[in-house]
């Protein structure tokens, strides 16, 4: 996709990247922590860990079985599991485990919110909401994918990392790839080179590299955004 201005020059270029997800490679590149060390570090018990697993608060594919000299041991991707446990411990004080389980599942199916509700819940400001509606031309009732779009826009515009034109480009990418975003692991990357910005959606990507003169302005996991929104909704 490209946007041409009146002179016929490219003002912005949007590229969509698709990278195959390779499980083996992904595991190699990540630091692992054994179950024993994890319990120690996080200060939780076996009972809690197994309970969270039962409630699907911890995804099945984070349990990596390996044989060690003491026999079988279970390992976890260290960064992810510690972050998840922190979140669970922080939120379980005012939520039941079942509510938590809903939060971590990637889809909220039938959620519908009015635009005033979004403003009230601090998901989006009035200004950004108006910009969004002007570009998207939709009604005042928001389903989850629209909430996500407006939230990402709000986040990036408010932080000043992108300007209004770039925001429009971002929305265009999000809108055209609605169905892809529902998939598990989508990452949004915004780059700038010599003042020309571009916006990428990375799907199930392990890693990516740009040439040196390209500056990565924003890198944002949409999964994380969904969780942030959900925590605001509850």
């Amino acid at each position: 996709m490209s946007n041409k201005n009146k002179d016929g020059n490219f003002t912005s270029v949007t590229v969509l990247c698709y990278t195959l997800y390779m499980k083996g490679v992904f595991m190699m590149s990540e630091e692992l922590i054994s179950k024993k060390d994890l319990l120690d570090l996080a200060g939780i018990s076996y009972g809690q860990l197994y309970r969270w697993k039962r409630k699907d608060l911890i995804p099945e594919d984070w349990f990596i079985r390996k044989s060690t000299f003491t026999g079988q041991e279970t390992f976890f991707p260290k960064g992810k599991i510690l972050e998840r446990i922190n979140k669970i411990q922080y939120m379980k004080e005012n939520l039941s485990l079942d509510e938590l389980a809903d939060m971590f599942s990637p889809n909220i199916a039938d959620l519908q919110l009015e635009k005033d509700e979004l403003v009230k819940r601090n998901i989006v400001s009035n200004t950004v909401l108006d910009i969004y509606l002007e570009i998207e031309k939709g009604g005042p009732t928001f389903n989850f994918s629209r909430i996500l779009e407006v939230y990402v826009l709000e986040k990036l515009l408010q932080s000043g990392e992108i300007n209004l034109d770039e925001g429009k480009m971002l929305l265009q990418v999000l809108l055209e790839n609605k169905s892809l975003i529902r998939q598990k692991n989508v990452e949004l990357v915004f780059t700038r080179k010599l003042g020309v910005s571009s916006c990428l959606l990375l799907i199930n990507t392990e890693n990516f590299q740009f040439e040196r003169s390209t500056k990565i302005v924003v890198q944002l996991s949409l999964m994380a955004c969904m969780e942030e929104i959900k925590s605001k909704l509850l």
């Binding site: 024993k36 018990s45 076996y46 809690q48 860990l49 026999g71 079988q72």
Partner: protein, 239 residues
């Protein structure tokens, strides 16, 4: 709800039907249903089989022989006799007096087994109570696991908060069996672990009590540990 308006499916004697949505499904004698079934109550007396996925909104009861070739979801499932589910079984409360065979995994709140249970994959519940023989191909995961060994039991892994494994008290104590019934597992992990007659690769826990007749490669504990003199533990580590 609108289930009231639905019809019943009743097979007495020999018969077969297609699937669909029903109020109550009852098979007395020998019946076959082909296709997915959704109903509020399911009742098998005699020999019944359903080829397709089954959703039961209230109670399912198998007396005699029931077989489901597909996944099953139900609030309650009582098996008195024999039940077979080839796919996954999702049930709030499962009670088996007899024999149950699940090809996939079981997910439930309360599982109570008196008899025999075979599970191909994982078995998850808040409470798992068994006075039986069982084989679990994956992980047995429950808050409270209370097992009384009646015959040889097998589970690849056992994990939970409280794990109690004990031998059935035999009234005829002097009738020592030739081959002792034991539970075998690669790995047992829990906060409180009290086991008897168990062969395990590794036992990890906070409070670990090893009762009589255990053979364990490694015990790792962080709190208390006691061991019966009739048991063999090759390596004991305090963490």
């Amino acid at each position: 709800m609108e289930t009231k308006k639905r019809g019943d499916l009743l097979i007495n004697g020999f018969g077969s039907s297609n699937g669909g949505s029903f109020n109550s499904v009852s098979i007395n004698g020998k019946g076959t249903v082909t296709g997915d079934v959704e109903c509020s109550d399911l009742d098998f007396n005699g020999s019944g089989s359903i080829t397709g996925n089954v959703v039961v909104n209230h109670h399912a009861q198998f007396n005699g022989h029931g077989k489901i070739k597909g996944n099953m979801e139900s609030q309650f499932l009582t098996v008195e006799g024999e039940a077979g589910v080839t796919g996954n079984l999702i049930v709030k409360k499962l009670k088996v007096s007899g024999k149950a065979n699940v090809g996939g995994k079981i997910k439930g709140d309360e599982i109570e087994i008196k008899g025999r249970l075979t599970v191909g994959e994982d078995c998850e519940a808040e409470m798992f109570k068994a006075e039986s023989q069982f084989t679990i191909g994956g992980l047995l995961n429950a808050d409270l696991i209370d097992i009384t060994i009646f015959a040889d039991c097998n589970a690849k892994e056992i994990g939970g908060q409280t794990i109690l494994i004990k031998q059935k008290n035999s009234l005829l104590g002097f009738f020592k069996p030739f081959a002792r019934n034991q539970l075998k597992s690669e790995c047992i992990e829990g906060d409180k672990v009290e086991i008897e007659n168990t062969i395990a690769g590794i036992v990890r826990g906070n409070h670990v009590v090893i009762g009589a007749n255990c053979e364990i490669e490694v015990v790792e504990y962080s709190g208390e540990f006691t061991m019966d003199k009739n048991s063999i533990v090759k390596d004991i580590r305090k963490i």
